[in-house]
Symmetry: C2
Amino acid sequence: MRKFDLLTPADAVAKLNAALDAAGGHAPTETIPTTQAHNRVLARDVISPVHMPEFRRSTVDGYAVKAATTPGVLRVAGEVRMGELATTGLRPGEAVLVHTGGNLPAGADAVIMIEQTSPLDTATTKIQTAAKLTAGENVIQEGEDVRKGDAVVRAGARLREQEIGGLLSLGFTQVEVARKPRVALIASGDELVPAEAQTRPGQVRNINAPMLAALVERNGGEPLDFGILPDVRLAFEEAAQRAMHEADMVIFMAGSSVGERDFVPDVVNAMGRPGILAHGILFRPGKPTLFAACNGKPVFGLPGNPISALITGTLFAMPALWRVQGAHTPPPLNMIRATLTQDVKSPRDLEHWFPVHLPLPNGERVGVRGEGEGMPLAGPIPTKSNLIFGLVRAAGMACAPIGVDKLAAGDEVTVRLFD
Amino acid sequence: MRKFDLLTPADAVAKLNAALDAAGGHAPTETIPTTQAHNRVLARDVISPVHMPEFRRSTVDGYAVKAATTPGVLRVAGEVRMGELATTGLRPGEAVLVHTGGNLPAGADAVIMIEQTSPLDTATTKIQTAAKLTAGENVIQEGEDVRKGDAVVRAGARLREQEIGGLLSLGFTQVEVARKPRVALIASGDELVPAEAQTRPGQVRNINAPMLAALVERNGGEPLDFGILPDVRLAFEEAAQRAMHEADMVIFMAGSSVGERDFVPDVVNAMGRPGILAHGILFRPGKPTLFAACNGKPVFGLPGNPISALITGTLFAMPALWRVQGAHTPPPLNMIRATLTQDVKSPRDLEHWFPVHLPLPNGERVGVRGEGEGMPLAGPIPTKSNLIFGLVRAAGMACAPIGVDKLAAGDEVTVRLFD
């Protein structure tokens, strides 16, 4: 702020990423049960040891047939039971009952859906097939989905439900993933007291640390609570040293601005190379945010006010946390377009995010928005005080980009929904 | 499917919700540390015991002044230190240094930002104020954010970071939340083996249960793994009875269709009132999905194929799980609009969801999409086989609504992003 030019948020992020890339290094890994690996980041490619499916399967409940024999009357020659392979081949004029996922007998090349057949006797020993099939219809070929040797899940993939299912389907019950990065959370301020304390007038409970801890946990990290530092330089120096020793990433909350008690900038520059990359960004709320990389570890100085700390933590620190884990596919942010209900003034030189309420579907099920239905309405929430309750009332944050000094009621805006 | 008319997904959801509402009842609650309550659902309104802020505070670093005395020269009469109340009032012609969040002394009615002042001597005993302030500028009044007696977080709120922060800021270190609903996960099929088993040809590993378990956990539930039932009616009857005893919600995976081994429909109707509400929906993948409510508990019969099970579990079972918790604000689904890259055929009578890949921002930071930037491109992924790897390759699912039999390349579609 004092010594540095303010960067755009995009430039600050780019500088941080470049510094982390230049430092190289790989996240340490650990091997854990696949069933416990949701939201973890895969450390190396997983290669399929087999074709999937391993044999030809039916995609429907029906009769395996030779397509050329349809339509017509066929003799039902038996059933392929689930969990078993077909033991005998199909002879001309025959059909064999198969279930969805079941193996096709040799000689069959298609499956007719049971609904497209009618039994010609009570014991269903003969059926009439109504449809004309083509070879391959309702059949998955061996290896059609995955071929032996394919990388089925790549290093850097964040494991969602489907990756867990995919890995387990191939028998990978253990996976090597990035170890959870430890994130030092360092709050400071003589006015701060722990959340469980009784407050005296003028004191404020430390809520940034628990909020950031929740954010870190659900973004794959392990929060290390460094408590509350007094506004004393030595306390910052000691905490910084310990953080560089114990943590993979460091987040200061408060102390990054230009006041007398803002020790973070000086301390960060002594933590490692290259040090501070951006001190202050063209962004509100959170203009004093500090970006640094110290010996390959991301270091952030977030503002002390809770709204700023939560927003900058979400938009800037969490992506860095995913990067530390080696993630190629962090969780997508939930961004929608909405129509503003009121005018909002905005500082022209800053990217400005402000909380909005908006009527979201009540969660039973998000409807499929048709062309004509229009956009949701976003109503700005005043947050002059920077107290956290402005965000408690909000469904998301809307953005006035750099260069915009006023948004008008009726304007279309981008809203990031809180999740 | 056999005995019931197929319902639209919306109608099936509405019937389920109506049945659950009619059954009434409240989720059992428990009291836990607020710091551990992320994503839990608050059981009762939390009332603020105080005004917030409790006293007038500055919103900036600067000097507390009487607005009417600006611009002009003021004598610096002292400082209000953080964590302390102002002890003496402001006299005419005076300014007092205050920090962001600091208490305003009596007699002051505005704060001038430090950048808008210049010291007139090296010790800063006098300052020149450049701007003309108005009363109230850069000040938060007592109770402006929250008034004593306000419900600051409502029963039914899902606790995000900001609710945790808000509750802690008022000293609520414990909260009463809905107990995690227990969700019975009941897989079945003679061909299924546990994921850790060696498979013989024709056998398939049970991946639906671990996928649904991960989904249940991150939607606030506690999965109860009922293992794999053989295709034997008695096994279903016993599992259903045990599930109604032990669980708050029941999910069958496979067995809900119309085949010989589809015991779920009959069994569910014996589990409680009113029983089956929808047996089959106008939806793909997952047409055979069964919706039921049994003595106030949601019961689902999901298809056995993993793609269908995951999608119907996400879109239909998880909202019900939030409802069991009493949530008014479940996590918003991440829905975007995208441009389709290829034609897709769709069954006209079904709401049809198909996996798509799409180039998402690499997660460093989602840009603020401007008007001109256009939509992301969504490329359909063929999933004939219904194996889970179709979803491993996908960033989301796109929707062809009921009534649409073909989407063309270039059409705009709704995509639900996986999170």
